[in-house]
């Protein structure tokens, strides 16, 4: 293995040999290298998180026709560091009657649940922390730890608004987990694997968004709901619950909730890109360079890895940007609307997509129009859905009109 062909694994192997040279046996040396890798990954995610604060504030400012942070450093780039210093030196308040231990563990758990997700994110062809064969289930499992953190925060604060926020979060999570899990099955059916690395490698030719655009849309919607961001931000609806589950938190403990929400959004942007937009795949780029037809532009492995990592991070940022776009352009929905939307629309639709995908995948398995057939089946399904919705809407309007008719007649006479 050479540094130029596979940099990260080379460094890992080199560190392993260095530790062995110091007299460590293979087992502890391997564990130490693994711990160093975990440390580097977490530091990378958290440093990225600091910059996400700037990105989020800048983007929301643009959506609201403002400038955003622009005083400290070029383009306000140093603003997040100033924010952090402010958060750290603020008074740390624990409310009267709070459950101290649970209250203090909650922000840690919220951040942990997000950082756990980075364990399975394939950043480039040769950079994956763990290539789990149950990665898609792992995604759901880590999400449930995040719910737990919010329940703990809401309950331990000894504040009725915080507790109401926690209740809403549970209703939200329990319901939107259903379409999310169902749409996670669709990449698994098409690619035949639950490992995100395998799913990414499958997309070297066609991205899954072409094979199943509906699944991509449903996954994005349920991801936004799982994040608790607008239009599903009932957890922290300011006008009703002041700030929801984190209302009692101050200083850096609040900072952890805020930071983990941002990193969670970016991570879900990453998962949208991995599952449906090819992850680290760059068009025409293979492990040895660009292939244009039969022409090959050979590149060393380190350049390929770098290009793939940049591709992944940019796609994740685009996914994150879409999540922000939705957040800052949509009003909050009412809780009964939100649950009805999930149970009466999103869940049946995701089940229909699952059945159609499973059938078409087997029917078209070895034919030449697999991609076209999968795409068209989604288009037909979307068309049927829209027709059904239009019919329902028409009937509802008719019913309203007939209900209003006597009153209007009475007004005329």
């Amino acid at each position: 293995m050479m540094f130029w062909s596979d940099p990260i694994n080379f460094i890992g192997a080199w560190l392993h040999s260095v530790f062995s040279g110091w007299g460590m046996s293979a087992g502890p040396a391997g564990t130490l290298v693994a711990f160093l890798g975990i440390l580097i990954l977490i530091v990378f995610a958290l440093v990225l998180d600091i910059m996400l604060v700037w990105v989020e504030r800048k983007v929301v400012a643009r959506f609201q026709d403002r400038l955003g942070p622009n005083r400290i450093g070029p383009f306000g780039l140093i603003q997040p560091f100033a924010d952090i210093i402010k958060l750290i030196i603020k008074e740390d308040i624990t409310p009267e009657g709070a459950d101290k231990v649970v209250y203090n563990i909650a922000p840690v758990l919220a951040a942990t649940a997000v950082i756990l997700l980075w364990a399975i994110l394939p950043i480039a062809g040769t950079i994956t922390a763990v290539d789990l064969n149950v990665a898609l289930l792992f995604l759901v499992a880590a999400g449930s730890l995040g719910t737990l953190a919010i329940i703990m925060a809401g309950w331990a604060s000894n504040n009725k608004y915080a507790l109401l926020g926690a209740f809403r979060m549970v209703a939200n999570m329990v319901s939107y987990e259903v379409p999310m899990v169902v749409t996670l099955l669709i990449p698994a059916i098409i690619t035949g694997t639950m490992s995100v690395k395998g799913i990414t490698e499958f997309q070297s030719g066609v991205w899954l968004v072409v094979l199943s655009p509906l699944a991509a849309v449903i996954f994005t919607i349920s991801a936004i709901a799982e994040l608790g961001r607008a239009p599903f931000d009932l957890v922290e609806a300011e006008s009703e619950l002041t700030a929801g589950f984190n209302v009692e938190y101050s200083g850096m403990k609040f900072g952890w909730f805020y930071a983990s929400e941002l990193l969670h959004s970016y991570t879900f942007g990453g998962f949208i890109s991995v599952l449906f937009f090819g992850g680290w795949q760059v068009p025409f780029l293979m492990a040895d360079g660009f292939h244009f037809g039969s022409a090959l532009v050979a590149l060393p492995g380190i350049v390929v890895t770098l290009l793939q990592a940049v591709s992944f991070l940019v796609k994740a940022m685009i996914g994150y940007w879409v999540i922000m776009w939705v957040k800052y352009s949509m009003p909050r929905v009412r809780i009964d609307h939100m649950l009805a939307f999930n149970w009466k629309f999103l869940t049946p639709l995701s089940l229909a997509v699952l059945i159609v995908t499973a059938l078409m995948d087997k029917l078209l398995a070895s034919t030449n129009f697999y991609v076209l057939g999968m795409f068209l089946s989604n288009v037909v399904l979307a068309w049927i859905t829209i027709e059904i919705l239009r019919g329902v809407g028409r009937r509802q309007r008719k019913a309203e009109e007939t209900a209003l008719q006597p009153a209007m007649d009475a007004a005329h006479h």
Partner: protein
């Protein structure tokens, strides 16, 4: 000691300590959270045993669904979430004795089991464990019947829940 053994001892201590806290703590919600810790420890043990699927399912089902429903039910039903009564019943020593006897019996059975000291052969890395599990679940020679029975049970529960919840016109 290998790193794996250290991690195992840590997990085992976590499970035992949390399980003890579940039954000794006076606050109902703390008991539920300690239960989460114990279940998470079990998931870690599965992970050490290279049973990634079991580990993740443990977290999804027990922590993500069951424990959260416990916590939810506790928060919704009890206003005063603190237990004030005595924690021990009069015949506690009998229960302790029985528990010890069962523990001793199980330990004895395990120790006398032939091959208790044998190390399991490592699973070759190219074996698709989760694929095999999936095949076994739908194979007529393996678990297709229990699998289908469980599905019907869940479907019946689903229909029952809808029937109970739907409002009578």
């Amino acid at each position: 000691m290998t790193p794996e053994q250290i991690i195992f001892i840590f997990c085992a201590a976590l499970i035992l300590a949390s399980a003890l806290m579940v039954v000794t703590t006076r606050k109902l919600l703390h008991a539920a959270l300690w239960l989460v810790a114990a279940l998470f420890g079990v998931a870690m043990v599965y992970a050490i045993l290279d049973a990634g699927f079991m580990a993740v399912v443990q977290v999804v089902v027990y922590i993500g669904a069951i424990a959260i429903l416990f916590i939810f039910a506790v928060m919704l039903t009890r206003k005063e979430m603190r237990d004030r009564g005595p924690q021990l019943r009069p015949g506690w020593w009998l229960a302790a004795l029985l528990g010890l006897l069962v523990f001793a019996g199980l330990t004895f059975l395990l120790i006398t089991q032939p091959g208790i000291n044998r190390t399991a052969a490592a699973i070759p890395s190219d074996v698709d464990t989760i694929g095999r599990l999936g095949m076994a679940l739908v194979s007529p020679n393996a678990f297709v019947l229990p699998f289908e029975v469980a599905s019907i049970l869940l479907l019946a529960a689903l229909v029952g829940a809808v029937y109970v919840a739907v409002s009578k016109k």
